[in-house]
Chain length 604, copies 2
């Protein structure tokens, strides 16, 4: 069994995730998170919210997942959110045409070649249907829109779509969100929510699915505004895979820092550099293995046409580098498109520090002269005067001014033009903000945290599987066990469990099976700590056993103040401010046994 098979088996058996609706044969690209997975995913979302919204003082909103068609006409998804599809003439199966080429040739980014060239390549390489073996040469390759469509209300007069990205639910509400930000740039708006992609062939477990959760931040900045304060991240180390290295087909990453990469021009935008820095620290914090993590720059052909610099965070999963988040400069593209399509202003009014005064030539002709003189054509004369005043104000310094209407020239007395140079005061300007977008695939982050936490070792000669999840993410934070549910041990364990729950921790009380089996179960779901109540706890000195997941080591925690101090210290452990080792040292706890200590013998 490979580690990947072990992971999938563990995911199903222990309730992390599994393909949905299995009773009906399942439907590709949809997963259900079981009790452990739902908790881990929520914890990933909370950690993201804490770092990217709360600590950055950004807003969070929650918009609908179904939106009307005009939104996606404006966003460009109705026309451009496509994959290449080819239908097998033999069995009728639909395939990603570009994937057929990539899977059977050395070509890496077939999508960039266009549908016609991909169809040619399929013919040139004599590719066959992976399902039935039929010859595919000559079959047409077409664009398939990846949005799930539906109808809002009865009939088909109001088509709607499941949003392909959470971002659009933020952009369309820009005018109101700007008000909440008191119309001051920069400001950021985030959203954690469901998005959908009607994939032609979903694959790779949680990686390419049809329904997924995104955590997106749209940071609206002034196009000529100040860059962010980089002092907190300038020294943060980054492992980069820039365009140059990719084009040179080098596998080497550039090991640098945020400050250096920006100075060297490897990263173009200071905003992108800022977010790569805090994202790197966040990924490390939530347990992503930094030896299996990098930022890859988009190749020029990969970027959306409106983006100037884009990077993906990539994690190594099952031997492949997988995109787990993207950092893009979306420019003014989205807001401009929505302004054009909706007719609503998508700007922020930026007052100048001082109102600016400009001079503007103007006319205010005397119509009691022009009317009788020109009749119906008087308005044309007014327009001509205005035009000359704007273009050639110096012409107004004589007694008369000439204007030409339909090829005929008329001399107008200067006195009736009302010409003057007016002073105008402008207090500011309407600015369409640029958008910096860190966009996270929550399910992919989940998959990375899960796979990178997976460990196997041997404890006292027995093979063990455990998830070394950071305490902040673990579905269960503490397991509390009575050695057996008798002689007051169950009651005491329940008291401790309740005291822990009271402090807001996720606690699992378990009194069934041997202590060893209970430890193994908590190991497999990544519970950092277990507390066990035994005879000594209820009839002796009141101490309990503290058992640490990663080392499988056990210590005795004396009753009373020490136990209270331990419970206090757990909040720091949960928040990632403290390690188990440091807590044990602080409390003077010594390891008394490995996982197979004497108390285990009495458990069955």
């Amino acid at each position: 069994m490979t580690d990947h098979d072990r992971l999938t088996e563990l995911a199903t058996r222990r309730g992390f995730y599994f393909p949905a609706a299995g009773a009906y044969g399942g439907v590709a690209g949809f997963y259900t998170y079981g009790p452990q997975g739902a908790a881990l995913k929520r914890n990933v979302e909370s950690a993201w919210r804490d770092r990217f919204l709360t600590r950055e003082d950004h807003m969070e909103v929650a918009g609908p997942t179904v939106m009307p068609e005009p939104v996606f006409e404006a966003s460009g998804h109705l026309d451009g959110f496509d994959d290449m599809i080819l239908e097998c003439p033999g069995c009728g199966a639909s395939h990603r045409a570009d994937h057929l080429v990539e899977d059977n040739t050395d070509i890496e980014d077939a999508e960039a070649l266009g549908t016609e060239r991909v169809a040619e390549l399929i013919a040139e390489h004599d590719l066959e249907c992976p399902s039935c073996g039929a010859v595919l040469a000559g079959e047409s390759v077409t664009a398939f829109n990846l949005m799930f469509g539906t109808n809002i209300g009865p009939g088909s007069s109001a088509p709607g779509y499941l949003r392909p990205e959470t971002a659009q639910a933020i952009f369309v509400e820009f005018p109101r969100l700007a008000e909440y930000a008191r119309n001051q740039l920069p400001f950021g708006v985030g959203q954690i929510g469901t998005a959908y992609r009607n994939e032609i062939s979903p694959r790779r477990g949680l990686i390419r699915v049809r329904e997924f959760t995104q955590a997106e931040l749209e940071h609206f900045v002034h196009p000529e505004g100040a860059p962010p304060d980089l002092s907190g991240v300038a020294e943060t180390s980054l492992s980069l895979y820039p365009i140059d290295s990719q084009q040179a087909r080098s596998a080497e990453h550039v090991e640098t820092t945020v400050g250096e990469a920006l100075e060297a021009g490897v990263i173009g935008s200071p905003w992108i550099a800022y977010y790569l820095g805090i994202a790197k620290e966040w990924y490390e914090h939530v347990g992503v293995d930094m030896d299996r993590f990098r930022f890859r720059q988009h190749l020029p052909g990969e970027r959306a046409h409106y983006a100037t610099d884009c990077w993906d965070a990539e994690a190594e999963l099952g031997g492949n580098w997988i995109e787990i988040s993207g950092f893009s400069t979306r420019g003014t593209y989205d807001l401009s498109r929505h302004a054009d399509h909706s007719g609503e202003s998508m700007t922020v009014f930026e007052p100048y520090e001082k109102p600016q005064t400009t001079e503007r030539p103007a006319v205010d002709p005397d119509m009691s002269y022009l009317g009788p003189e020109f009749g119906d054509r008087a308005p044309e004369v007014v327009a001509a005067l205005k035009e000359r005043a704007a273009e050639e104000p110096e012409a107004f310094d004589g007694e008369e001014i000439e204007v030409t209407i339909d090829g005929e020239t008329h001399a107008i007395p200067m006195a009736i033009t009302g010409f003057e140079i007016r002073e105008e005061t402008i207090s500011g300007e309407h600015v369409t903000p640029e958008v910096i977008e860190p966009s996270f695939g929550v399910d992919r982050v989940f998959a990375t945290v899960f796979e990178h936490a997976f460990r196997r070792d041997s404890v006292e000669g027995e093979e063990r599987t455990y998830l070394s999840l950071p305490p902040e993410l673990a579905p269960t934070f503490v397991g509390v066990f009575p050695l057996m549910d008798k002689d007051g041990m169950g009651e005491r364990a329940k008291e401790i469990a309740d005291a822990l729950r009271e402090r807001g921790f996720a606690v699992e009380y378990d009194d069934s099976g041997s202590i060893g089996r209970r430890y193994r179960r908590q190991d497999e779901i990544g519970t950092p700590l277990c507390l066990t109540v035994d005879y000594e706890s209820v009839e002796g000195d009141g101490s309990v056993t503290l058992r640490d997941r990663d080392s499988a080591a056990q210590s005795r925690v004396p009753a009373g103040e020490d136990l209270d101090r331990l419970l206090e210290a757990l909040a720091d452990l949960r928040a990632g401010r403290q390690t188990v080792a440091a807590i044990k040292e602080e409390l003077g706890l010594e390891t008394v046994a490995g996982d197979e200590d004497p108390i285990d013998a009495g458990a069955e």
Copy 2:
């Protein structure tokens, strides 16, 4: 302006909620939660999770929102999840036919009358189109399925639907969920997630929308299992509106307790009684006004055919009683249907306390006799022997036994039948659990909490609007203000804000505008407390001002230990274990001023 208009205005202006995609004219039935609303909604969800899942030790899962058609064939939604629709022949607008009747006649539950009778009533009452005034008599009333349909993958070969209730994503995964529960009844599985109803005419703000959030608990219980432990809720008071009172058209509620109502048979199921009890306490805890709250029993015609006893929690909103959650006995309906349609077992194996031994007649015929004697027809003889043994074992007590094959009777020697009475040990049975379902509409709970928290009063002669939200739900828990951002006051306020954030509280730092305006803003978004740093805080004794939302009273909190103790006490306040008044008493804080105290004067 009515209170309802004031609420809607506040919801939009302060970022609670507003109709989505307003830039495109909006689309009825979809709302966006702004920053305050998204936080309040999350807090409602957390409070629900805490009470109905964590404290009850139930599991939580997260399934997909798009599910394939066979799921809804089984659930009955494809056939029966309909509303009555009538299309206007004049303007083409679609209307809820039953609502047309209800809005224009004295009839209350038109849906129960069926489409034909509703069409007749529309003709009898000469009803007209509310949009264009066209005569509607003679127009057909049909059933419109309320599920949003879509297609999974390319083409239309795999229809899917947006789930109309989160529950189905639990039922279809029953076999695996039962494993996670170690196959032991009872166990509960909850889910908080999006569900969809393609309403014909959405209305009433957040109350009847097309996309909404449900918090549902499916509690799987043994049909003959023990009732729940009611000791914790027996004395809980309930305001009930049972079938009798409704049929007698009495507006009076029955004021009783969980224990009494169950004993008197007003509530039929002890499980429903249990959940009404904890729901009542929970609603009170999250700020629902108990004078505007009741449980209404479903009338016989209202219940799903498989349900035996159903109650709705109803809140008075804008003068109407609105269903905000439902408590149903779903019986074995869902699991049986999914077992039938999917072919998967949806049962739990319940071992008997002691294995049961039963006697069963059996035959084991000697084929070396039957083969030569009957040739091809020997298997039919075996089948006939088995059937007689099962139905008439006493017939096997002679020398021969007669069996009839195709009308022909044969005598078979007893010796070759291998007849015997076998002892069989059965260790348990496969049980299809019954389902008890508390189902909460999160948006409706949100709307209730929001409306019931809405207050207006007068502080020092000035009119004030505030939301008296419980601290546990408030989007912002503490506002922290420097009197002005100078002379170290900003720095000190930021220190305090950071210390509070470190403790996990939602904090808003605000240094713009007068203190009075900042208090008013926090009042409007329901922030329970504000701390203000002034000159005394940085140049004098270090004390800060504590300002309480509901009373608008201010107290001075001395620096040092008192401030530390206040910060400690806030965790209890946030969790609803402590009141502001009690904390002030404990710390010996006296009110020094109302909302318009002297420090306000210096603020602008």
